[in-house]
Subunit: 332 residues, 2 copies
DNA sequence: ACTGCGAATGTAACCGGTTACATTTACGCT
DNA sequence: AGCGTAAATGTAACCGGTTACATTCGCAGT
């Protein structure tokens, strides 16, 4: 449309439309306060020049980035993708972009490089932390934007939290096994220091203590398929009649490991998982598990971040979970 | 450390260190050209004031965003998470951030809103497109930054491409089935217009034509577990001895559907998938499939984008695939 | 005609860095 | 001492918008 040389600036549009730059700016940010006549003139000039707003200029002046950073422990882990989708959805409606950073890929501790650089108002307008293993000191800086923790959490980190009712979910799962008559129940847990593992262990203990029981063993896994399979030998050695797994992937891995050892699920051992990933229904034996709505969790995290940014006090929101009964657990 | 009022600016640091703002700036961007003495003074002043660089200012001046945008068809689909991880890794090493946008969540066509706003130099320094179904006209604007297509692609979109050797993968899979003696082979494909489906269909045809054969049927699915399961009835009706599925999820879904119908894999029907998702090895019957390295694909896409940004000509890179033999396919 | 007032618009400072260019400094050499 | 040159530093313009504040305009009321 115009000279092919350099991209048109707001100034060019203003000159062409016969108005000031302020008016052009207002047409973009607050069209209602400019007269019909000027507005039309500006819109025409925009079309003629092919002008597009340079967001960098606006962002600098308004001291905002227009993006929120999500810190995920492992971007390749499908568990997080649905949470991210929920986050993304809410952010988009608020006109914000989603930045994603894999905390594994980044130097977590260096005082001057690595993660610290990202935790800055000029990098993101807010941060959603899905990784409970980060140093809380990182978030103490006055330059750090508002923070919301989702899914996993860490006591030292300030700001709102949104999490599934992990203890209740584990309690439901184990209560289900107890109701089926199981007494020798094993807990295939996540990493010891992980906040999810801790609260799920509480739920397990709560359910078992009603009957005066304890787990026949607690085995530590890594939330992965492989670690589930590798736990099979140790599980068998403990001779449980049922296993509660801290997530579905370990449960499915364990299923494979038990099959290799010639044991059948649920014939020899009953299994309950956690998360209700889509694959749970398609496992060798459809998996009884605890559903947590990951998309909702992401949405809620984004909403909390937005309201925190607007000055609302930070709160902790606990999302309900429910038992999803399939075929991997049955009476002794 | 300093006044709690407003965050320190580069000017404050300069005054404190007794140097000019230019020197401070140079300490950050090019420390080698400033004298030892000044450098120490600046570093000391930075610590004392708690100064942190405001990236917005720098970005505006340098007309760069410091981020690359990835356009994914469905963020909740775990297939993409590993690609994103690969992209993220390379970008991080180049000092760039990863922005993610779910193209489902966004108005694809509006001329003034939706996607178009994002395809702008002031939004991202480059774009990686993982969605082959976008209108190529979107990328024609002179304000659009460099584009790389990965995985799926669209002929009309300019720029480099990186893709797995889909045709070869499909050919390998079907040749494997032929070698096992299968003659009645069915193709459970992706959506008809999808670029992956198209090239995989070519590979299927290439392998079959060597024997003068054609698929006994082609069924269109949606790359999902559910669509695989739902295809079971139509599959059975066509009476194949083997099925090649365009991805692992449909294969696993189909496995479930066949089991419900009382058919065994590979006893009654052999199955081959595509992708080698982690779950493939843990399916009810470990799935023979075609491996494509998704992380590598993402890395390569990011590398191509970087070199394209540096002025290198855009090229198309085809990544090798390999057959991964497990237990879901066996001789007739 | 004059005043008052709200709506519309314009001017110019400002956001916080980077960097071209000018200037100063340090130092070796005749 | 005088000069030339390279290294180090400083000054101020610049990136491209937004917005506080001042100004002008339009119109109703007396």
């Amino acid at each position: 449309m115009s000279s092919p040389s350099r991209p048109p600036k707001i100034h060019d549009v203003a000159k062409r439309a016969g108005v000031s730059v302020a008016t052009v700016s207002r047409v973009f940010s607050n069209p209602d306060i400019v007269s019909e006549k000027s507005r039309k003139a500006v819109e025409k000039a925009v079309l003629e020049t092919g002008y597009t707003l340079n967001v960098l200029g606006r962002n600098l002046r308004q001291s905002q980035v227009g993006a929120v950073l999500a810190l995920v422990p492992n971007l390749a882990n499908p568990f997080f993708s649905e949470i991210l989708a929920g986050i993304s959805e809410v952010l988009r409606d608020a006109g914000l972009n989603l930045l994603v950073l894999d905390t594994r890929q980044v130097d977590r501790s260096s005082p001057t490089h690595g993660l610290r650089n990202y935790l800055n108002r000029s990098h993101a307008d807010g941060i959603i932390v899905l990784d409970g293993s980060l140093d809380p000191a990182l978030f103490q800086s006055p330059a750090c934007p508002p923070v919301v923790q989702a899914c996993e959490w860490n006591e030292g980190v300030p700001g709102a939290r949104v999490l599934a009712d992990n203890a209740e979910g584990a309690r439901l799962a184990v209560a289900h096994l107890l109701a089926l008559g199981h007494r020798r129940i094993l807990h295939l847990a996540g990493p010891r220091q992980n906040s999810l593992s801790v609260s799920r262990a509480e739920g397990v203990a709560a359910a078992l203590s009603c009957e005066g029981l304890e787990p026949v063993a607690v085995i530590e896994g890594a939330f992965t398929l492989r670690s589930g399979r590798e736990a099979a030998a140790a599980v068998i050695a403990a001779r449980p009649t049922a296993v509660f797994c801290d997530n579905d992937e370990m449960a499915i891995g364990l299923m494979a490991g038990l099959a290799e050892a010639g044991l059948s699920v649920p014939g020899d051992i009953s299994l309950v998982g956690f998360d209700n990933i889509e694959m749970a229904a398609y496992a060798p034996v459809p998996l009884t598990t605890v559903r947590q709505r990951r998309a909702v969790l992401g949405q809620e995290a984004a909403r909390l971040l937005l309201s925190q940014r607007d000055g609302d006090p930070s709160e902790t929101r606990v999302l309900p979970v429910e038992l999803c009964i399939r075929q991997s657990a049955r009476p002794v």
